[in-house]
């Protein structure tokens, strides 16, 4: 598909676009934290010290301790791993499935298009969070079920985007030219049309990772997240609900972590959007 020189072009344009640069920086920062978690986190995330439960920020515990006396800073660091891995994996899967279905529906049109799109309309009439909760209730909570839940409710979004780009791309003349060169319909779809419909999908993919992190932490907050004692931002936050006044610090830091990570992805997504379809910029 792209050779390395066009990748270089992309990096140069990202560095030039203010929003994308900030976004990329934040996302990279969080990814590095996630990768270096074992090295940089001061304590074991699950190490309990029941006698120093709910202590405020101090020299030993910069972010203070949670109800089990665990170090909140370490849990926030390890939390990055969970949020990033689950959200990116789920979005990746839903892109694969969603784009495939959307592209097929758009390219071959007719009854197939009608069925697939009507089914997605139905799925889209349920709010994401409710759908995710129902799926987790069916499958049970835990890492892989969380990924499945997020994947399922993100598929319609990507299918729709893929469908709208493919529908407009397939009328372009290079598609007819490809037919004249004897290419098969499937080949045209996957070698010609799809590679040219990727930019809106990449943009939406980035934004959806941010949104997925919100949903993961939301489910964690409702008690449907990852099995304890895993360090997940939303689950840790739900404890803060009962200790708002006595131990507000339990509600501050995991929240900030979610907020900054999601903002990073949103910044990066918006920046990419400006880079990938210049029409947005004023002439």
């Amino acid at each position: 598909m792209n050779h390395n020189n066009s990748m270089a072009i992309y990096w140069r344009r990202i560095s030039k676009n203010k929003m994308a640069a900030i976004g990329a920086f934040i996302v990279l920062f969080i990814v590095i934290i996630a990768l270096l978690a074992p090295v940089i986190s001061p304590y074991e995330p699950d190490a309990q010290d029941l006698y120093s439960s709910l202590n405020g920020p101090s020299k030993e515990h910069w972010f203070g301790t949670d109800i089990y006396g665990r170090d909140i800073l370490s849990r926030v660091i390890w939390g990055a791993r969970i949020s990033l891995s689950i959200s990116s994996l789920a979005v990746f899967l839903s892109i694969l499935i969603g784009v495939f279905l959307g592209a097929i529906a758009a390219y071959f049109g007719g009854v197939l298009d009608e069925i697939i799109m009507r089914f997605f309309d139905i799925l889209l009439s349920f709010p994401d969070i409710l759908l995710a909760i129902a799926i987790i209730a069916i499958l049970g909570s835990g890492r892989s079920n969380l990924i499945t839940a997020i994947t399922i409710y993100s598929i319609p979004q990507f299918a729709r985007i893929a469908r709208s780009t493919v529908v407009s791309e397939k009328t372009k003349e290079y598609v007819d030219a490809a037919r004249l060169s004897g290419e098969s319909e499937m080949n045209i779809l996957f070698r010609y049309v799809l590679p040219n419909s990727l930019s809106p999908i990449i943009v939406q993919g980035t934004l959806r990772i941010g949104y997925a992190i919100l949903i993961i932490s939301g489910l964690g907050f409702l008690g449907l997240g990852i099995q304890p004692p895993a360090a997940e931002w939303g689950t840790d936050l739900s404890i803060a609900r009962t200790y708002l006044r006595a131990a507000p610090h339990t509600g501050i830091f995991p929240g900030i972590a979610i907020f900054i990570t999601v903002m990073g992805f949103n910044f990066f997504g918006d920046g990419l959007n400006e880079i990938l379809n210049p029409r947005m910029k004023d002439r």
Binding site: K16, K281, D282, R283
Partner: protein
């Protein structure tokens, strides 16, 4: 001949993320009252930028007017403040555009769009404005004005919309009409009618017209004087007859020969090698020199300025094509 408009050494640049676009290098020409001036040039020649600079609808930023004057009815338009400019736009100078499909507001009826303009300039009530709009539509020979007024733009044909646009532009007796590629998007039969319409408007409403186009036929058909633009500068400026007879500038000469004639069959077309310059990194000196057979060393260094080498015949070239191949 009283000059209604004079453009002197206009220089405009655009600041974009990719860098500075040197859109207009030096543009000078003038328009006599009641005449039709044609501005002809290819993609990137700066003809549209010039047009939108005259009635100042050029968005500043990203555009930046480096220097030059646009004297309209004695006053330099570039010095007008925003309110003054707003008063003369549509009243003194009005403009029509290329794409009839997108030139009218899709969610308002024609009646409302036209009467808005009239009411703004003439401070009269909606009813009188609509009446004036109806008269204007008759002027542009629209068969059933009442019916058209009550319609939305998407319910009219391309030609019909172009006529509505002309009617709106001239509804407040403008003195200067700028037409930016008015017929490019139309079929040849409709184009013929619109050109005829512009000629009538010039006669009946005593207006001067600037016609911007890339189609030399349109210029030859209705223009009195012509300015040929290339790479952001006016390279030749004279009356239409002189230009067709004696195109001194190598670019004008090459351009005329490159047009396939409809009245005779020829074996081979004259071509101008190479392609239009990239205005982010324009060639030094005369911007046509990379494609010019007559290019001298001088041409590569400093850009020639527009000089009157013959009475009412201006060119910007150090080594024009004189005598010899008169173009019969």
């Amino acid at each position: 001949m009283e000059r209604i408009l004079e453009v002197k050494d206009l220089k405009i640049q655009f600041d974009t993320e990719e860098g500075t676009v040197y859109a207009l290098e030096n543009v000078s020409f003038h328009l006599n009252k009641g005449e039709i001036l044609g501005i002809i040039g290819e993609t990137g020649s700066g003809k549209s930028v010039t047009a939108s600079a005259i009635n100042r609808i050029l968005p500043v930023p990203p555009a930046r007017i480096v220097n030059g004057e646009i004297i309209f009815q004695g006053k330099d338009v570039l010095q007008y403040k925003r309110e003054e400019m707003n008063r003369i736009r549509g009243k003194k100078i009005s403009m029509i555009f290329q794409e009839p499909m997108t030139a009218l507001n899709p969610v308002f009826k024609i009646k409302e769009q036209m009467s808005d303009v009239i009411m703004h300039h003439q401070k009269i009530n909606r009813k009188k404005a609509v009446k004036q709009a109806t008269e204007m539509l008759e002027q542009v020979r629209i068969p059933d004005p009442e019916m058209v007024l009550d319609k939305y733009p998407h319910e009219l044909s391309g030609g019909m919309r172009q006529r509505v646009m002309i009617a709106t532009a001239l509804s407040c007796e403008a003195d200067l009409l700028i037409a930016d590629e008015p017929t490019t998007a139309l079929d040849v039969t409709t184009q013929d009618q619109i050109l005829a319409l512009i000629q009538d408007m010039r006669k009946n409403l005593d207006i001067s017209v600037i016609l911007i186009t890339h189609d030399f036929g349109v210029v030859a058909e209705i223009c009195d004087t012509v300015a040929v633009m290339y790479g952001g500068s006016v390279v030749e400026f004279t009356d239409i007859y002189t230009l067709t007879k004696k195109p001194y500038h190598p670019y004008s000469n090459g351009l005329l020969k490159a047009i396939p004639p409809v009245d005779q069959t020829i074996e081979k077309l004259n071509t101008i090698p190479g392609s239009v310059p990239n205005l982010l990194k324009p060639p030094p000196g005369c911007r046509f020199h990379p494609r010019c057979e007559n290019a001298l060393e001088k041409c590569k260094i400093d850009p020639p300025s527009l000089t009157e080498i013959e009475e009412n015949h201006f060119i910007a070239c150090y080594n024009p094509i004189k005598g010899g191949e008169d173009n019969e």
